[in-house]
């Protein structure tokens, strides 16, 4: 379970560019929930993810994972419990290392990186099985450098790598946005499969309204630092893309665009 309590976040405080994004913002994501977050640019979606991961500091409030405050933990320490896939497929893998080396790195998350062999030969069979479920033929290319793979292949690997070891929360940061529509479909289906199989608590930010409706158990729409829509269960299932577009249009008119 992850909880954000009374979060304040202001960009460029005490300057002409001061932007108050969050004021007393609260959010609670229960275990095994798959939350999709949508919203226009500047609505605070990405800031929200970055605050959880510690990439940017919060001004006030508290962030808790399973009841424990993670406020004081630096970014890298928070990732002991968090897996993250970025929008840019290049961010989640090491281009100059082989598929096998990347898988070995991910497999060692949470353990010590000492002077033992980087790749445990006994685990190769497991890596091959994991890669085989992607249906991209990567299991036969273990010695190939990841930089030679396509964006979709790299993103599939990033997804696999970020969920290989036990984590409390999976963060998906517009992870299909840089892919072509067909590859995006494949990655999204794969995401859903992995999240279900591992019962992961997931927060996904997306610009794709279809994905936000089709996948996940809960839908949140952000606008100017507030969750202006928060639905789940039957209510979420009854919503169609047009409903959401209506709300988007209304917001735009209110802002005078």
């Amino acid at each position: 379970m992850i909880k954000l309590a009374h979060i304040d976040k202001t960009y460029n405080p005490n300057t002409v560019n001061e932007t108050k994004l969050f004021t007393d913002f609260n959010l609670e994501v229960k275990d095994n929930e798959f939350v999709s977050i949508i919203g226009s640019n500047g609505s605070g979606k990405t800031t929200l993810l970055n605050m959880i991961c510690g990439s940017i500091p919060i001004d006030n409030g508290e962030i808790l994972i399973n009841g424990e405050s993670i406020n004081k933990l630096s970014e890298f320490r928070r990732y002991k419990r968090i897996g993250r896939v970025y929008q840019n497929p290049a961010m989640g893998t090491c281009a100059n290392m082989t598929i096998l080396e990347n898988m070995s790195l991910a497999d060692n998350k949470g353990k010590i990186f000492d002077l033992k062999w980087g790749t445990n030969k006994k685990r190769i069979k497991f890596y091959k099985e994991q890669l085989a479920q992607l249906n991209l033929g990567l299991e036969d290319k273990l010695g190939v450098k990841v930089g030679l793979l396509s964006g979709g292949q790299r993103q599939a690997m990033a997804l696999l790598m970020s969920t290989m070891t036990p984590i409390d929360i999976l963060i998906l940061d517009e992870h299909t946005a840089a892919l072509d529509p067909k590859t995006a479909e494949i990655i999204m289906a794969l995401t859903d499969k992995i999240v279900r199989e591992k019962n992961l608590t997931t927060i996904m930010v997306t610009h794709n309204l279809m994905y936000a409706l089709e996948y996940g158990s809960r839908l949140i729409m952000m606008h100017e630092g507030n969750a202006i829509m928060d639905i789940e269960g039957d209510e979420k299932r009854s919503v169609v893309v047009d409903d959401i577009l209506d709300i988007f249009n209304r917001i735009s008119i209110e802002r005078g665009n």
């Binding site: 970014e75 320490r77 080396e101 998350k109």
Partner: protein, 290 residues
């Protein structure tokens, strides 16, 4: 023949320092100028110990450790004080100049001509005769290369490669990328100081300015090696660094043999580096056009 031997001797010494520069420049993508002072640091430590009558073979690990401390300093300045990479190296380099003089007791020049060294005490000094020196240097260089190859295949080595490749991956693996960078700088400067130690015993004197241009020699060797031979998949990168160092040293030797004076040494060093950079840029442009 004497020329070939001297090229190989110096080339293999340069290899040791080039292996260090390979870690910072190629793996970490960190332009580390510390090496211009960690190279003479190794030499200073070596000269003082030999003058004190300590077994010359002990100077090797001690110089190695001294260089590691220099790398640690640069790493801490960069990671903990958040000083830019280039400037961190320059700060350590500048400070080390004074420290090197302190080590030698204010002597800018310290001859060790009449003392025993790793070459005179080598177990095959009599058997190999004039090949003794090159054999000893080759063995030290080979040990460094093999240890580095092995290290880069360990979990810690994987993390080092990952941090230069894409440090986000290291953060997401819940590891502190700063510490990984520091480890890389420690190993790199340890190797550079070791090279300085061997060089000091090879030329049989320490001289405070012997480090000037070390970074250029290291970079030139790495770039020749990785650009010319790095594309061949059956050659390990560390092996290509060995070849690069020897080729570089050979080019310098040829320039001197063709009549350039010894005072033109740094001129050759710099100009040759420029040529290498320009050629490798052309080569890259050619690849891009394919």
């Amino acid at each position: 023949m004497a020329l070939v031997l001297s090229v190989l001797e110096q080339g293999f010494i340069y290899t040791i320092l080039a292996l260090g520069v390979y870690i910072t420049y190629k793996i970490l993508d960190f332009p580390d100028l510390t090496v211009d002072s960690s190279f003479p640091l190794g030499a200073a430590v070596c000269a003082v110990m030999i003058k004190a009558g300590i077994n010359p073979y002990i100077t090797l690990p001690v110089s190695f450790a001294a260089g590691g401390i220099a790398g640690l300093a640069t790493g801490l300045i960069h990671v903990k004080f958040k000083v830019r990479d280039l400037l961190s190296g320059i700060i350590t380099m500048t400070i080390l100049y004074s420290i090197n003089l302190h080590i030698t007791g204010s002597q800018a020049n310290m001859p060790i001509f009449s003392d025993d060294n790793i070459f005179t005490l080598s177990p095959f000094a009599d058997k190999l005769g004039k090949y003794n020196k090159v054999a000893v240097i080759f063995i030290i260089m080979l040990i460094c290369k093999i240890l580095m190859d092995l290290y880069l295949k360990t979990k810690s080595g994987y993390l080092l490669r990952a941090v230069g490749d894409n440090d986000t991956v290291v953060t997401v693996l819940a590891k502190d990328k700063g510490i990984v960078k520091i480890i890389g700088l420690v190993i790199a400067n340890a190797l550079v100081a070791l090279a300085g130690c061997v060089m000091c015993q090879d030329q049989r004197f320490f001289e405070i300015s012997m480090g000037t241009g070390t970074i250029v020699i290291g970079l030139a060797s790495v770039i020749i090696g990785t650009n010319v031979f790095g594309k061949l998949s059956f050659i390990k990168t560390t092996t290509s660094v060995i070849i690069g160092s020897v080729i570089y040293k050979a080019c310098v030797a040829i320039a001197i043999w063709m009549g350039l004076a010894a005072i033109d040494m740094k001129l050759i060093t710099g100009a040759l580096f420029l040529v290498i950079l320009v050629l490798s840029n052309f080569r890259k442009a050619g690849v891009d056009n394919d």
